[in-house]
């Protein structure tokens, strides 16, 4: 029986660097299913929060409580970074990385890569060098690589930044499909995207939680001024 990493709870999580609070006393429980959006403007602390969840950083105060033992967190989760980090290898080799890391049998690896590449429509790119790809293609490879080891939790840090409308549509479709099976936490400063994809929304400003609610509730009663401005102004600046 595999224990689930979720639900995931932040308890008074605070990150302070050089005397500045980048994350300020967050208390929030990430629901076990669906897509949770972390929205907020530049420097709101979205990336920092994701890094905390994936243990790339430690909170100065407070703690993050996972449902599974600590040493299984990285095994059960995957992180797609704001600017994709791809190995200087072929796309195939990039997809192979997490599988090898999880000690998947060699026979399984090839099959898994083929299935994943088809699913993400990157099968024609497998033999190319990852760094020769376009931005959108790189993003797709990064998401495919995060998905391939079947994590329980997948975090996407602004997966659609710098993409054209068509690529955004393709990636959003991909995210919706993945979210049927995997918990997704993604960041964005595009409120319209949240409207299209989110199940839950966590709104941050200067490291503080401004609002947190399911999508419908969030868009129905936007209590705070910022949430109000945000929704009416469409995009946070």
């Amino acid at each position: 029986m595999v224990t689930s990493i979720l639900p995931l709870r932040l308890e008074n999580v605070t990150v302070e660097k050089k005397g500045i609070k980048l994350i300020d006393g967050l208390n929030y429980e990430f629901p076990s299913k669906g897509i949770t959006f972390i929205i907020g403007g530049n420097g709101a602390g979205k990336t920092t929060l994701l890094r905390l969840i994936h243990q790339l950083e430690q909170p100065s105060i407070g703690k993050i409580i996972y449902n599974c033992p600590m040493d299984q967190i990285k095994f059960h989760s995957a992180f797609v970074f704001q600017s994709p980090i791809l190995l200087y290898r072929s796309v195939y080799e990039n997809l192979k990385l997490p599988l090898k890391q999880n000690n998947i049998a060699i026979g399984e690896i090839q099959k898994s890569i083929e299935i994943t590449a088809k699913k993400f429509k990157i099968d024609h790119l497998l033999q190319l060098q990852a760094h020769d790809l376009s931005g959108g293609q790189k993003q797709k490879v990064a998401i495919a690589r995060a998905w391939i080891a079947k994590p329980q939790l997948l975090s996407l840090d602004e997966p659609c930044a710098n993409l054209d409308a068509k690529s955004v549509m393709a990636i959003e479709k991909m995210i919706l499909e993945i979210s049927q099976h995997i918990k997704i936490i993604m960041t964005s400063h595009d409120i319209r995207q949240a409207k299209r994809l989110a199940d839950h929304i966590l709104l941050l400003d200067k490291g503080k939680q401004i609002a947190a609610a399911s999508k419908n509730v969030f868009f129905r009663d936007h209590k705070t001024l910022l949430a109000h401005n945000l929704i009416n102004g469409d995009i946070i600046c």
């Binding site: 989760s77 190995l87 990385l97 890391q101 760094h131």
Partner: protein
């Protein structure tokens, strides 16, 4: 001028007749430097990668020292190795002085700081870029090192080639610890020195041509690999 052109033609004819002595010296040169570079890589690649990946207090000092060692005068290295290996020295019992092994040791001391520094310089940016990915995949330290060394392989090859170029052209240290003994420790550089002082310009020039040829070859390799990262070797 006549002397010069005569020596020039004599040198070419020595090379193209595969003069036994010439071949012997060339092979020994390649052998000594190849062994030295291999050993230096064995030390310098992991050491450089380790320094790139870790953060500790004395790191800056260690880097400064290694950087300083790059500029070590080879003659002084030769002197130190000589004292180390001479019969009354601490390693005297092994009887290594005036053998190719002594020359390899001297070259390792000269080349290792170069390879370590170049490895450090190649792996540092790669680590900064890969860091979050490798950490999020929960890689342990050896796995990270392996990934970095593999993906930096073109630049590391460049580092090894640079070490080779440095080693093959080295003369002072090799002269001291090898003794330039015919058929035992005579290599391209020490032979050139000897033949020049003897006045045998034909042989000296022939040896020089070979040395230039080898160094040029390596410079070209360095140029080709130096600008590549990750892609297939050819």
């Amino acid at each position: 001028m006549a002397d010069f052109s005569q020596a020039f033609y004599a040198a070419l004819s020595l090379i193209f007749s595969f003069d036994e002595n010439l071949v012997d010296i060339t092979l020994r040169s390649l052998y000594v430097t190849f062994c030295a570079v291999s050993l230096s890589c064995f030390i310098g690649l992991p050491a450089g990668a380790f320094l790139a990946v870790t953060n500790f207090k004395a790191k800056k000092i260690i880097l400064a020292i290694i950087h300083g060692l790059m500029g070590l005068p080879p003659v002084v290295v030769g002197l130190c190795v000589y004292m180390l290996l001479s019969r009354s020295g601490p390693l005297g019992i092994f009887g290594l002085l005036f053998t190719p092994k002594a020359m390899i040791l001297a070259q390792v001391i000269i080349i290792t700081p170069i390879i370590t520094t170049l490895t450090f310089q190649a792996i540092t940016p790669l680590w900064h870029y890969y860091q979050d990915l490798l950490n999020s995949l929960d890689m342990n330290f050896p796995q990270k090192m392996k990934t970095l060394l593999w993906d930096g392989k073109n630049q590391l090859l460049t580092a090894a080639l640079a070490g080779f170029g440095r080693g093959i052209g080295e003369v002072g240290a090799l002269m001291i610890v090898g003794g330039n003994i015919d058929q035992v420790t005579r290599v391209l550089t020490t032979a050139i020195t000897l033949e020049t002082s003897r006045g045998d310009f034909a042989l000296a020039l022939a040896l020089g041509f070979i040395l230039i040829f080898i160094t040029l070859l390596f410079s070209i390799f360095i140029y080709v690999f130096g600008n590549k990262r990750g892609a297939a070797l050819w």
